[in-house]
Amino acid sequence: MTEDLHDAERALREMFAARAATVPPPIALHAAVLRRARRFHRFRLFGAIAGVIAVATAVPAGLAVSGGPGPAPLPPGPAALPAPVCTAPARTPVDGPRFPEQRDVRGSLGGDLAAVDAVLRAGWAGMTPRRPAAGSLRVLFIERVDGRIGAYVAARTARTGEVVQVGVDGPDLGHLSARPVGSWAGWSDVSEDQPVGGLVVCGRNYAVLFAAPGSEATLNGVYGLGPDAKPVVMTRPVPMRPDGLGMLPVFDRRVTATVRTSAGVVVQDRPVTVYADAAPLPPVADLDAAVRGRDVGATPVDQVRVFARVAVERIMSGSMLPVLDLRTLWLQDTGDGLAGAFAWTVPGGAGYVSLVKETGPGGGIIGGVSGQPVTGAGPDDVAVAFRQDDPGASLLLIAPRAARAEIDTDGGSRSVPLVQGGALVRGEVVRYRLYDAAGRLIGEHSPTDGWLSDPF
């Protein structure tokens, strides 16, 4: 190893030590592991059965299996991702035993008996494999959030007496579905034992807080924008209903909640359950049209759409802030697989760009976000360069408004056409100029402009 690499090794060790020192000790990990181990055991069979039932009952009638008779429809586009459940067809009303009449349910729809009945039936359908005792079925809350419906339903299983809880959600009372939230032994008042929960409502994660009427609650570890438009961690108060229910969307898996009553703190920094499979962020622009309009050579359009969908998911789940105005800057088959550049903004207007690449059949899709925000008045004004770290490696230019680039290298200058706003340039580039279709110079850039590191 050269002396230079010893320097890098020393710096790396110091950096690891500094980073590791910021990690707080885990709290109550042993108990959490035991809970998960037991829950895993309980839900292993339940989940498998419920999954089969869900697939069997929830697939829209219009969908055909790819390769089957008739034309195979395209998979859902990225635009459908944030609210997949909300696009489901209406469910056939579920017959069930006579459910107990319930009043005084928490939440803004808790006083609506028709809503309580619809949620009970959806919850019952979601619990069917566990065979709960119908008489024990109980709606814990029904809340209308962001125009959608979210609810919890709990019941005691007839055989073991275990409590099973499901989350129910949908765009309206005619389109409800349920998913397991948890199970535990012994009936208890949810507001005392489980005051902090999580719920997916139409593809978005929400923190759910149960507390005594008049309680106050905060979400901790929430990302917001600081005065310099940079993300900062903050504590945010949760607007609580008079009945002690609070729901707020969460975008980060590290969010915790604290609940206080006049008597003191009920729970401190209790982690909020955030479901990884839900789209955690608000809606994005329609990428479908952008994907359809792009020439990606011989790559089947289905593959392109799947690629774009995975890319969108990764960008949205990787960002600490709500992703707004996500759009495709560039999408190409590089010969080694698909690659795409996606631009997006966060509240406050700061712009970022992500480069996503398919590393080959079965090799996975890898994403990386730019080392710094990008600037530009509009989507077409973004011009970014991703440079590989290795000497002599390629530079990826992306500039939707440009038709060609003039590249300066140590060996001279040459003109490079931009195909659909992008070009991959081999060699050590020291400067480039961008020209539009009319031949006008629209930009000149050198590494001091902040060329980004190609993560691949």
Partner: protein, 164 residues
Amino acid sequence: MDDDFREFVNSRSPALLRTAYLLTGDLGHAEDLLQNALVLAYRHWRRVTSAGYPEAYVRKIMVNERRSLWRRTRSAPMVLGDVPEHGGPDEAAGVDERDALWRAVLAMPPRTRAVLVLRYWEDMSEADTAEILGCSVGTVKSQASRGLRKLQALLTTADSEEGR
């Protein structure tokens, strides 16, 4: 069995969580990764302890769970670049060399990052690293060298910009 396991979790989980954090770059994901590994270890605890070195077992699960997760989801975690991971006075002071190194490590392919963490954080030998990752010693050497070269290039660039 429960007492042994509780003692193991209480005594070793802080160190394991630090390793998980360096592997994932995200505290929430690190906690999930460690919990998953401990759940697996708990389910096979007798076998794990009878083989000795339960910490090595959990570490191996974490590394490979992390890599298999990448394969399953056909994706890697996002590198958050200029978006600071935690707001606060340090971030306001600007991006320093360690931050740049951290971002560079997060941008590396999963196996390269795992090699760097095991070799230069856990101080494991090349042979032990290869055993955990299920690859050859030569691969460990080349991945470590490649990772360090990238970091060195970053340091050299920073030095030259400072000298201007």
